[in-house]
């Protein structure tokens, strides 16, 4: 009896500690959401319960800047993020099949090169890339935001290679007997069987492109091409904006796609990171 009481108490303490920690940790996020409904005078107060429930902050924020509403910025972000994601996931899967299944000369060499580039900081090449894209006339278009992201990410390739190697070779051989060549095997056998890895890669790819601030900051000049991240940064200038409620409303809205995807697909994220050491 005593033992079990003790155990029960311990468990209660454990959960209280975790929940307190969780509340502290989530305070900034909850504060952002609460403040997006607050009246102007109280917008920066620490309370997590809005003094009034102003949906109107969202309408005001949505108005955007000049004659451009957030509809434009969200549309731009969706175009950029979805194209970049589709390209990156499919091309990563191709690369993973090449490295994971096909025997060819130089395979180990190129695979090691790819692993080394895992550690390579992208910012080091930002200047020559800028000069290159400038030469190509790509400044102020979506191209520099999308096309470089078609490069398979070593993280994704690594994750998918592990999946590909886990598939029994008998599948390939059966397909071969049915007359599939090395190319058809990719579409018929590999792609359908590594779906979890594809979903994990797609989610991360979408997240990173959606939140990317650095690339649009470099390449996008016209406000009508702004993605959400860049549009939000206009709120950071305290001289330009004093409507805090609208700012918090748009900040909350910009994270909404992330939260929604997270709620529906979190299983894939957690497993993806655990198996491949993906950055988050």
């Amino acid at each position: 009896m005593k033992m079990s009481d003790n155990k029960h108490l311990k468990s209660v303490i454990y959960h209280i500690c975790i929940l307190t920690l969780g509340l502290m940790m989530f305070y900034p996020v909850l504060w952002m959401i609460a403040s997006s409904f607050k009246g102007h005078a109280n917008a920066l107060s620490p309370s997590l319960i809005p003094d009034q429930f102003l949906i109107q902050n969202y309408f005001q924020g949505w108005q955007g800047f000049g004659d451009l509403t957030f509809a434009t910025f969200f549309k731009n972000s969706f175009i950029i993020a979805t194209t970049a994601t589709i390209g990156q996931v499919i091309l990563s899967a191709m690369t993973a099949y090449g490295f994971g299944r096909i025997q060819f000369k130089g395979r180990n060499f190129w695979f090691s090169v790819m692993i080394i580039t895992l550690l390579f900081p992208q910012q080091v090449v930002m200047i020559p890339q800028y000069l290159m894209f400038n030469q190509l006339g790509w400044i102020d278009t979506f191209k520099p935001l999308i096309l470089p992201k078609f490069t398979p990410l070593p993280f994704f390739v690594f994750l998918m290679v592990q999946f590909v190697r886990g598939l029994p070779r008998e599948l390939d051989e059966a397909a071969r007997i049915d007359g599939c060549g090395v190319y058809m095997i990719f579409f018929k056998i590999i792609l359908p069987n590594i779906k979890p890895a594809l979903i994990t890669a797609a989610i991360f790819s979408f997240y990173w492109t959606w939140q990317d601030f650095f690339t649009p900051l470099l390449y996008i000049q016209s406000t009508e091409l702004y993605p959400v991240s860049l549009a939000l940064s206009l709120f950071a200038d305290p001289q330009a904006v004093t409507n805090w409620g609208a700012m918090f409303a748009m900040a909350t809205l910009s994270l909404l796609p992330i939260f929604l995807i997270f709620i529906f697909f979190q299983r894939y994220l957690v497993e993806g990171i655990a198996t491949s050491g993906l950055k988050g």
Binding site: L44, V124, V125, I127, R169, E173, Y183, A251, L255
Partner: protein, 300 residues
Amino acid sequence: MRNYVNERTTLAGYIFISPWLFGFLAFMLVPVIMSLYYSFTSYNLVSSSVFVGLENYKEIIMDDPRFLNSLKVTFIYTFTALPLRLGFALLLAVLFNQGRRFVGLYRTLFYVPSLIGGSVAISVVWRQLFGYSGAMNDILVGLGILKAPIGFIGNPKTSLWTLVLLAAWQFGSPMLIFLAGLKQIPIRLYESAAIDGANWWQKFFRITIPMLTPVIFFNVVMQTIRLFMMFTQAYIITEGGPIDSTMVYVLYLFKQAFQYSSMGYASSLAWILLIILSVITLLIFKSSKYWVFYEAEGEN
């Protein structure tokens, strides 16, 4: 079928890895070489580049206090945020590695900050949270910790620490990696330690930590590089200021290139960054043989 290599499979292999190979050459190797060339030139985008030899490097190292300052700021940021982030990650991983109710849910929820911590939205919120009239001041004054509000962002003594705090907040992915590592530790080790009468702390320091060193090593390498490259937060929250107190290296590099149009000078800065990061990574790798414990494979 098994493991044959002929010209046909070699061609197929290269066709399938061509997306990566092309990206690697076009967006990495060629730009790196170009950047090496530009680092020996003076180039402002308008007039054509002029070869100046080692002038840029000389000026950066001998005569650029802002470079030295940015290096100092970046080192302080990286090596205070790193132990905080990994410490938090390990603590929570240990807490969530227990067979209790809701741990699956907790694990997922505590991962959320690292998912959104790099976003502009959170940076914008952080800026208001720690501003002079922001919520943090109200809380700290209300609790009696502070006598009067401080402008955390506007004060050079505190501005960098608001960024360190934001970095520590994003402990989610190392936490999940630690958790995966903890699951790999064989239970028999703990069982035999328990028979020998080891307490919780002894088990933690004699079994958990040594068995986890390969994972710690991985996290240290990845997170050091990531922290060293921090940009968005410093750009939006503090704009590098006040008086350069948060002017991290990449932000300084960005300003040289795109605000002062010194493309050549900035390319030299990029190469120095690459060298510094390589040295740090190499040092971490070299040090690993003294503290990373690899269990011999195939041993029973």
